[in-house]
């Protein structure tokens, strides 16, 4: 997947702002370029403006400022029905007074398509989601997962180049959700369509996306492929929002290129790599993933600083063990280690020294 830049992108948000009430900005200066065939996910907490962005793209909300381009063309003034964008809604929005077949036929009829071609396409779209047998049912006679498939088929039946999905799996139970994630991803790859997907479920975002745009407070906090997002968060919000994270507060003691020495509140020193800090003396939050924390000296870099830790609790999770530690006056420091044969047994009250590779500790903005 090539990351688009400038004019060759398929979807382009160019300095887009949105306000509903004329007083607060719900979307603040959004710049986002999406490549053709990309699966892009907007991920963020509720109220962060994801749906608003999607609605602006679909044409149901107008951008207060800025420009939205689709395939190089400014679509700010194009009404929704002329944008040719497929959309899957959270509650599916299947028309309850029509059968499944009529639901799928609707977008084809309004395009003036002939009967035989309509039949063809409906059959193909239903087969694509394995719902061929349900053509004459009403939506109310289908289970949630089946409705979801029909909604998907309806959004795809008229061959849109771009499909928007707003939390499409939010109403399904966990097992079915994971199954549908897989199906949607497979469809995306097979059809080569561009998908903009909205979710507040990070697991969903990580498994499905080519790139994830993390939203908070009307801004994109970070735009990156899943692995980069998890391993190299660029600010404290992203570090805390994606995956489990330990955040240690401190101030910059020394700064050498991208190496930083951080003094924690209790006076201890740790190594970290500088990510978005600028100067010595500045407060910072150091983020370390629990599975990157080591407690065996031979696994730590030789000259690395180590920290005093006390085991508060050990939780057995099967494949891994999860220890809650007190580190630098923080009672919620988490360390995960593999459950292997002969693994050291930690017990509450036990004291040990922990450390990590400086590349795994990222000095970010203070929270």
């Amino acid at each position: 997947m090539t990351v688009p830049s400038g004019n060759d992108s398929f979807v382009m948000f160019d300095h887009v702002q949105k306000s509903y009430d004329g007083q607060t900005l719900v979307v603040k200066d959004l710049n986002l370029a999406i490549a053709k065939g990309e699966f892009l996910t907007m991920l963020g907490p509720s109220g962060s403006g994801k749906t608003t962005c999607l609605m602006m793209l679909a044409g149901f909300e107008t951008a207060t400022h800025g420009e939205i381009r689709l395939d190089g063309r400014n679509i700010n003034d194009v009404p929704p029905h002329k944008r040719g964008i497929g959309m899957v809604f959270q509650n599916y929005a299947l028309f309850p007074h029509m059968t499944v077949g009529e639901n799928l036929s609707f977008p084809l009829e309004v395009r003036g398509m002939g009967k035989s071609e309509r039949e063809d396409r409906i059959t193909r779209a239903l087969d694509m989601v394995q719902m061929g047998k349900f053509r004459n049912r009403r939506p109310a006679q289908l289970s949630g997962g089946q409705q979801q498939r029909i909604a998907l088929a309806r959004a795809l039946v008229f061959d849109p180049k771009l499909v928007l999905m707003d939390e499409p799996l939010g109403a399904l139970d966990k097992q079915l959700r994971e199954h549908m994630q897989f199906e949607i991803k497979a469809l995306h790859e097979r059809l080569g369509i561009t998908v903009v997907y909205v979710t507040h479920d990070q697991g969903e975002a990580l498994t499905m996306s080519d790139r994830i745009a993390v939203f908070n407070d009307g801004r994109i906090q970070q735009l990156a492929p899943p692995a980069a997002l998890y391993e190299r968060p660029e600010n404290s919000f992203v570090a805390g929002f994606i995956g489990e994270n330990n955040a240690l507060r401190g101030t910059i003691e020394k700064l050498e290129g991208d190496k930083a020495l951080v003094r924690l509140a209790n006076g201890e020193l740790i190594d970290a790599s500088a990510v978005n800090i600028r100067e010595v003396g500045q407060p910072t939050t150091v983020s370390i993933r629990p599975e990157r924390v080591e407690f065996k000296p031979d696994l730590m870099p030789a000259d690395a600083h180590t920290l005093e830790a006390e085991v508060l609790d050990v939780i057995y999770m099967g494949d891994i063990l999860r220890a809650v530690l007190r580190v630098a006056d923080d009672d919620e420091f988490v360390m995960k280690y593999r459950n292997t044969l002969g693994q050291t047994k930690l017990t509450p009250g036990q004291k040990l020294r922990i450390g990590w590779h400086p590349l795994d500790a990222r000095a970010l903005d203070p929270v």
Binding site: F60, H81, F89, A93, F106, V110, S143, F182, R190
Partner: protein, 433 residues
Amino acid sequence: MVKALDPHAAIVTEAGGLDQGGSLTTADGEPLARALVRSSRRARRRALLLVLPLLLFIVVTFINPIGQMLHRSVFNDGFSANMPELTVWFKEHPRGTQPDEAAWQALANDLQAAAQVRTIGVVGTRMNYEMAGTRSLFTSAGRKVRDGLQPPYREAMLEIDSKWGDPALWSAMRNVSSAYTTSFYLAALDLKRDENGDIVRVAPEQRVYVMLFIRTFVLSAIITAMTFLLGFPIAHLLATLPLRKSNLLMILVLLPFWTSLLVRTSAWIVLLQQQGVINDILVWLGLIGNGQRLQMIYNQTGTIVAMTHVLLPFMVLPLYSVMRTINPSYARAARSLGATSWTTFRRIYFPLTLPGLGAGALLVFILSVGYYITPALVGGSSGQLISNMIAMHMTQSLNWSMAAALSALLLAAVLILYWVYDRLVGIDNLKLG
């Protein structure tokens, strides 16, 4: 491609076992169906106790009067109870028999007896319903025969009044001689029995009821259509406006409910009369000349306008309650699928409002079919409905049997309408709120 798994597929398990007959039993061998009945009996008994007061109330105040009314529409013993001898004679002699001396004697005796116990007026009234203008014949004959007649009775009666020899009179007396009669229903349909007992239409100048029924149904249909045209956009606004504004609008819609009937009607008179506000404005604008002021009240226009006003909430409220539940994402989905806003309205939004529309239309139509006060006040003579005729029979002509027959026909029409609606739309699709 992906394999179709259905994680929701459930495994069916049986509660107990199967007995020899193949039906399910509970764990201790009791048939499941019987166990279910037993376990729900208590709950049902309690539910019955709770509805009992309402049931009694409805029986006493609703079903009982309707039953009595239906009975009255086919039963009137004003003649048969007070003219026993003649009634017996009619029973023993088939239609077409010329009245013999025995018949005349029975007539004279009955008249005398009725005059003595002062029920001759009741008899005359009953006859008058059947054959207009015969009441005085009976009352004056009653005065003259009170002291008895000498045979031959035929000549004696004819001497009192030659009209007694009219075959139509005898036919009419035969018609009313049985207490149970269809004559009120016939009359309510502008029909009657002629001398041979055949059903024929009444004279053209006497035909009023069929025309009134037709007018009632046509006006009700117009009023229903008007409430729909006015109410649909209002209901839509109510369902989509922010709460504070929609509350205000709701108050405006409900205002006619909360206003005294007289205030409401006077307001319409002020607006619509020939020297009223609307005519003044039209004249002032130069659209009509001073001499061409429109007649908008005391005719059908008045009835339509005022009743549309009063009945509007009955259309708006069911529509509103349905529209409120229509998720806006349906319209969005339709738009994103390529439909223009008009297509979206026609194919998605409007069909989804049909349950509310059906309920509202049924309510408004049924209410206006039986509406009485507003047409009476602003309808003039051309705006009178069948209900006004029923009221007239109840309060002025005191022909309660006729009123009952008209009401029963109205009730039947409404029930048929209900049935048709059920067949076309389904009563369970009705959404009242």
